[in-house]
């Protein structure tokens, strides 16, 4: 660059910020920092053990549980309820969501019903579930099923509504059958909206697990937490809650992998 007689000044850069950058280590670092601070607080005595047990105590409670051999009984019972409830709720939710998305009659009839029942806290319906499905596994699975059903319905028909009409018209113009259009154009087109719905419904399922296990459950992470709570065994309570948190993170990660695979055609 030839220098000008008056020297000139470079134009100041002002386009920074507002873009998402991947900063890998920060997430885990914050986790570690919070736990370390918490532990330190308990050790120094800033946090009274009655108010909040130290992470190390919660970890000890967890190890006790593992040593007693009950860990897998609790986790297994909960996983079973979660998986059965979530899968049934999701399958039903997808079916009803597609019906609402594809058929005007189903939309007119079911969409208002879904909107009316969606905001009801399913916990409030527990007594009814017990009467309907019994005190055993039925009512527990039903609670989770109902909880996952509604967000799936809403995400699914929202996704179907958002499929590019131009692509559907293209399918029609090439004489594709109705079933082909649904399977090859509408289903993959709705997927980017359905998969985030899975994230929400999975989180709701975990939230409802504790509620479901309030119904006379002997085993289950929720039951373990409830028992610990009623005994004021806060170390066990924190251990149980941490297990749910880990479960949630794992499920979220699995859905993330699924999104990456199924939506690999996106940028």
């Amino acid at each position: 660059m030839p220098e000008r007689p008056d020297g000139g000044r470079p134009v100041a850069f002002r386009g920074g910020g507002f873009t998402a950058r991947a900063v890998g280590v920060v997430g885990p670092a914050v986790f570690v920092a919070v736990i370390v601070l918490w532990e330190l607080g308990c050790r120094i005595g800033v946090i009274h053990p009655l108010v909040l047990p130290a992470p190390s105590e919660a970890f000890n409670a967890f190890m006790e549980l593992a040593d007693s051999g009950l860990l897998w009984k609790h986790v297994g019972a909960s996983l079973q309820r979660l998986v059965v409830g979530w899968i049934c709720g999701t399958v039903l939710g997808l079916s009803v969501g597609f019906m609402i998305g594809l058929f005007a009659l189903a939309r007119a009839g079911l969409a208002p019903l879904v909107a009316a029942i969606f905001p009801i806290p399913k916990i409030a319906l527990l007594p009814l579930f017990i009467i309907w499905f019994g005190i055993g596994e039925g009512s527990k699975v039903a609670t989770i099923l109902f909880g996952t059903f509604f967000p799936t319905v809403v995400a699914t028909y929202g996704g179907v509504d958002n499929v590019d009409r131009g692509l559907i018209r293209m399918g029609q113009s090439f004489g594709l059958s109705w079933f082909s259009i649904v399977r090859k154009i509408i289903l993959p087109g709705a997927l980017p909206a359905i998969l985030p719905g899975f994230r929400i419904s999975a989180a709701i399922a975990i939230v409802l697990l504790v509620a479901a296990e309030m119904i006379g459950a002997e085993f289950g992470v929720g039951a373990y937490i409830l028992l610990a709570g009623s005994l004021m065994a806060t170390d066990q309570l924190v251990a149980g809650v941490a297990m749910l948190s880990v479960l949630g993170v794992t499920v979220n990660w699995l859905i993330g992998r699924m999104e990456k695979y199924l939506l690999r055609w996106r940028a």
């Binding site: 131009g166 113009s173 594709l176």
Partner: protein, 255 residues
């Protein structure tokens, strides 16, 4: 196969878009339809291909489509309409899958049309990886795969930059020269119309009626060299359109 449009009228609610249109699209020729914006060109094309029903009048197929035609009336869309979750080959395959063809036959057709549109090296690419021009060539390959009797082209080059548009026009001329096809080509670009049209149908502003039909006798392959003649034609078309375009421009939208 020819297409005859008989007294086509159409309206959206109180808004009359097309009025009393008679037109013949003849075998082996490209009929370009031009007109001011909002004159119902795209509506007309949707009516011709059966994606919409005219309020009055009818579109008749005269004669049989060529043997082996899987989809006699085939569109090329302005926005390409490719499935983003399918590769180039997958997008072509889509339109073959409902016809009970054997996998080997499908593969042969796909290979053939990708070779004819020079896309063989890109068969595994996803649409997001392709430029606009490439996407439209995929759409052209997809249309070739079903052996259309009549191509219905809705501003196929409007979403492309002008250099890509030139290239694609050359491609279309080459395709036509090698194997003449019948097409109804809607555009608002007069240059495209005089480069590709055997006949140019000029529509009036809304409600669209046929103002004139201009015949261009220069063979498609020679048009690039005979630029002077073409620019005279183009000028003539613009004279025909100018007033209509001006009036259309002054109209309120959704009046």
């Amino acid at each position: 196969m020819d297409l005859h449009l008989q007294r086509i009228s159409h309206s959206y609610g109180p808004l009359e878009v097309l009025a009393d249109l008679d037109l013949a699209i003849e075998y082996g020729q490209i009929a370009c339809i031009i007109g001011p914006s909002g004159c119902g060109k795209s509506t007309l094309l949707r009516l011709i291909g059966g994606l919409e029903k005219p309020a009055a009048g009818q579109v008749l197929q005269v004669g049989e489509p060529p043997a082996g035609s899987l989809n006699p009336l085939t569109y090329i869309f302005q926005d390409f309409a490719l499935l983003p979750w399918r590769s180039v080959a997958g997008n072509v395959s889509l339109v073959l899958e409902d016809h009970g063809l054997r996998a080997a036959t499908r593969a042969r057709i796909i290979d053939d049309v990708l070779a004819r549109t020079r896309l063989s090296d890109f068969r595994k690419a996803y649409p997001r990886q392709l430029s606009g021009g490439m996407k439209q060539r995929v759409a052209i390959a997809r249309a070739l795969a079903v052996k259309p009797a009549v191509w219905l082209m809705d501003e196929p080059l409007a979403a492309l930059d002008s250099q890509t548009r030139e290239l694609l026009m050359d491609d279309l001329v080459e395709l036509w020269t090698r194997e003449p096809f019948t097409a109804c080509y809607v555009t608002h670009n007069l240059n495209e119309a005089v480069r590709l049209g055997h006949r140019v149908v000029v529509l009036s502003r809304r409600p669209g009626r046929i103002r004139t039909v201009v015949q261009i006798d220069v063979p498609l392959a020679e048009r690039k060299e005979r630029g002077v003649e073409l620019s005279q034609q183009q000028h003539h078309l613009w004279e025909l359109l100018r007033e209509e375009a001006q009036a259309a421009d002054q109209e309120l939208l959704n009046a």
